[in-house]
């Protein structure tokens, strides 16, 4: 059987295993909640992770157009970029997919049902996904800093237009641009 067919056939156990491995990056109580709660508004993280993984898996089988991959990869990375993970741990979930596939297809691989070449090719595609994830992760982190700066500006936007009005400033002076010092 071709690897693609095998992956399609084993989709649900592989996805389950992959999701499980991802959940293990959270404390046990949290993992239980992320898995159990089905309402997508009560459990946005669990929902986002699972939906994203499903989409990524589909794309992996169907050629991986980068815009489509982003639709599924971005939400997952966006969540993990603000959670309590180091950069490596935040994006490591991509590599769990390799592990899930290897585990679930171990029998077939031993029996030589799939060509090694196909398999290596698949692993390279997953490596590409990991690289995408790093880009997305960095973009999310950059965004956080940008948001902080914008917020500081917005917070006193009118005052910035008419500076020197704060009580701690000395005499009101002429209008000027820029932050008060």
């Amino acid at each position: 059987m071709k690897l693609e067919e095998l992956l399609a056939q084993k989709k649900s156990p592989i996805l389950e295993r992959w999701f499980q491995l991802l959940l293990e990056t959270y404390p046990a109580e949290t993992a239980r909640f992320l898995k159990r709660e089905e309402n997508r508004f009560a459990n946005p993280v669990g929902h986002t992770l699972y939906q994203g993984m499903q989409g990524i898996y589909e794309e992996l089988l169907n050629g991986m157009a980068s815009d489509k991959i982003n639709v599924f990869l971005d939400p997952i990375v966006r969540v993990r970029a603000v959670q309590d993970f180091s950069p490596a741990r935040a994006v490591a979930f991509i590599f769990f997919l390799k592990r899930a596939i290897r585990e679930e297809l171990a029998g077939e691989m031993r029996e030589g049902q799939t060509a090694l070449g196909d398999f290596l090719d698949l692993e390279s595609r997953i490596d590409d996904l990991a690289l995408y994830s790093f880009d997305l992760y960095m973009e999310c982190r950059r965004k956080i800093y940008e948001i902080r700066v914008n917020e500081i500006k917005r917070r006193t936007s009118r005052l910035l237009q008419r500076t020197n009005l704060l009580a701690e400033s000395p005499e009101p002076g002429p209008e000027q641009d820029g932050l008060r010092t």
Partner: protein, 542 residues
């Protein structure tokens, strides 16, 4: 040479979190998830204990030598003073109904953000020191000593609760974790462990009446700035008055509306509405902030700051008070004002001078929410509205925690929005009204250094916004809280780009047809109106 991790370091990337029990896992103060410590000058200004330079991420917090004694004595006092606290400490059956209801838990995945566990941080110390079982059996019954690690954990997690009260909606016993947080913060204050994002506004408010420390001429100047903008857009010159004795109504709003976008557009909406009605009202440059971060500090501080509004009302001789779009101001007024500084017998029961409607529910506080006031005007057909001028806005409404859960103000803002906008869409029901999700930045936590935590906490709210954004093309998130107006834009920016945040009265201002106005070509933000609507002049038919 580039950094190359050693093999054992690589192994540590491994993927699982530590498996120690919650009591034995100390806090890691990772930047982005906590707020800076209160500066000594702000604690001094408020005569709060232990003013000093310190930082949560350093090992030495420079606590007083007898800090444990101070805290335990403080806890003992409060158990006697607040019967609710004693009950909350004793009756939790750990049923877990609240556990997954906190936005910080949902967004962060950190179990200590489960309300039940958050409360347990304090409860464990209570058990150890105030219950017989805890004294004898210790850890077996969930009791533990008050160590420095425990104190640090309190600081981390009680300044990671926005006091939003969502969890209390789900607790079969009505345990209000927000109240537990309030007490824990009071205790932390006793040894000088506050955050500057709370202490600075409180100190400024105490001195000048508003969070930023603006002096009277600056308040006046900011409002006049809005007056100029209104004239540019509408051709109408509105004429607010300041500190005017004998006015019928005192208007109080969060100071953020005066100088922070997008609150400034909401300010324009208020000014236009009052002008159009010919309302006999005045601004105060002393009661210049509805916000009261005293609520996030201690009961005493909340009382101190709340008092200025009523002192001004008395000084100016007004009949009653109208309050702007603020969140926590309304919690203070509704839940605490009467016992803090009230009842305000020297004022009159509020009556709308335009419609004659008597606001009976405000009989003791004498303070009416502006959406109650405006909804009544619309209902009685007193406003000439052109909702086409909000044609470009596809709107949803974020219930701010305090007006919804602490005041039950659910219908009025919706009623107004549906009258001033043509496209209104609700978010899913388990994310609105009493079950609304916090913006993630309430409770005095909207410091920019706390951005990661805020983005985690705001995730459930943003997720629901994204749903209506994708489904209905919603591009405007309306709210009635100044903290929301400050906190939701960054949240949208990160999670749902393409959604703007707007006060309800900004949208009222857009739609309000004023006597003598010129043809409007832009909305209050200066964005051009879609073409067919610029020609519009009269009221619409429903």
């Amino acid at each position: 040479m580039a950094f190359v991790p050693k093999p054992d370091e690589l192994a540590r990337i491994g993927h699982k979190p530590p498996r120690t029990g919650w009591m034995d896992t100390p806090v890691d103060f990772r930047r982005g998830t906590w707020c800076y410590a209160a500066k000594p000058k702000n604690l001094q200004a408020l005569e709060l204990p232990n003013p000093r330079e310190w930082s949560p991420e350093r090992a030495d917090w420079k606590l007083p030598a007898n800090w444990q004694e101070i805290i335990l004595e403080g806890l003992r006092e409060r158990l006697q003073r607040f019967r609710s606290l004693q009950i909350f400490m004793d009756i939790c059956v750990r049923c877990g109904a609240c556990a997954d209801k906190c936005h910080y838990f949902i967004g962060s995945g950190d179990p200590k953000n489960m309300p039940v566990l958050r409360a347990e941080l304090l409860r464990s110390v209570y058990r150890k020191n105030f219950t017989t079982a805890g004294k004898i059996l210790g850890k077996m019954v969930g009791a533990r000593d008050l160590s420095e690690d425990v104190l640090k954990e309190w600081f981390y997690y009680f300044f990671q609760c926005s006091e939003c009260r969502r969890c209390s909606v789900f607790c079969p016993y009505g345990i209000d974790t927000a109240e537990i947080t309030m007490i824990a913060r009071e205790l932390l204050n006793l040894v000088g462990c506050n955050i500057d994002w709370v202490a600075a506004p409180v100190a400024n408010c105490f001195r000048t009446g508003n969070h930023l420390g603006l002096q009277p001429h600056a308040i006046k100047d900011m409002i006049e700035f809005a007056v100029e903008d209104i004239e540019k857009i509408t051709g109408v010159k509105v004429e607010p008055t300041f500190n005017r004795k004998g006015a019928e109504i005192l208007f109080v709003t969060p100071s953020g509306d005066l100088f922070a976008d997008p609150g400034t557009y909401t300010l324009m909406g208020y000014l236009m509405l009052f002008h159009e009605l010919g309302l006999d009202y005045t601004w105060s440059t002393y009661a210049s902030d509805g916000g009261n971060f005293g609520l996030f500090t201690s009961h005493e501080m909340m009382k101190r700051l709340n008092a200025k509004i009523y002192a001004e009302a008395r000084r100016l001789g007004v009949k009653w008070i109208l309050g702007g779009e603020c969140g926590h101001m309304w919690r203070v007024i509704n839940q605490y004002m009467d016992t803090l500084n009230g009842p305000a017998d020297f004022l009159e029961e509020p009556v709308s001078p335009i419609t004659g409607t008597r606001f009976e529910h405000a009989r003791t506080t004498k303070m009416v929410h502006i959406t109650e006031f405006t909804a009544d005007l619309i209902e009685q057909n007193k406003l000439n509205l052109a909702p086409e001028r909000n044609e470009h806005c596809r709107v949803t409404f974020h219930d701010s925690c305090n007006p919804s859960r602490s005041m039950g103000l659910l219908e009025e803002p919706r009623y107004i929005l549906k009258k001033v906008c043509r496209h209104f869409y609700e978010m899913p029901e388990n994310t609105i009204r009493e079950q609304t999700f916090c913006c993630g930045s309430g409770g005095g936590l909207n410091a920019d250094e706390n951005m990661e935590m805020r983005l985690r906490g705001g995730l459930p709210r943003a997720n629901a916004v994204r749903y209506v954004h994708e489904k209905h093309g919603v591009n405007t998130l309306a709210c009635i809280c100044a903290i929301d107006r400050a906190a939701l834009p960054p949240l949208m920016d990160y999670w749902v780009p393409g959604v703007e945040v707007s006060g309800v009265h900004e949208l009222v201002g857009n739609a309000l047809v004023m006597k003598g106005e010129k043809k409007r070509t832009s909305d209050l933000r200066g964005r051009p109106l879609p073409d067919p609507h610029t020609a519009f002049g009269g009221a619409i038919e429903e």
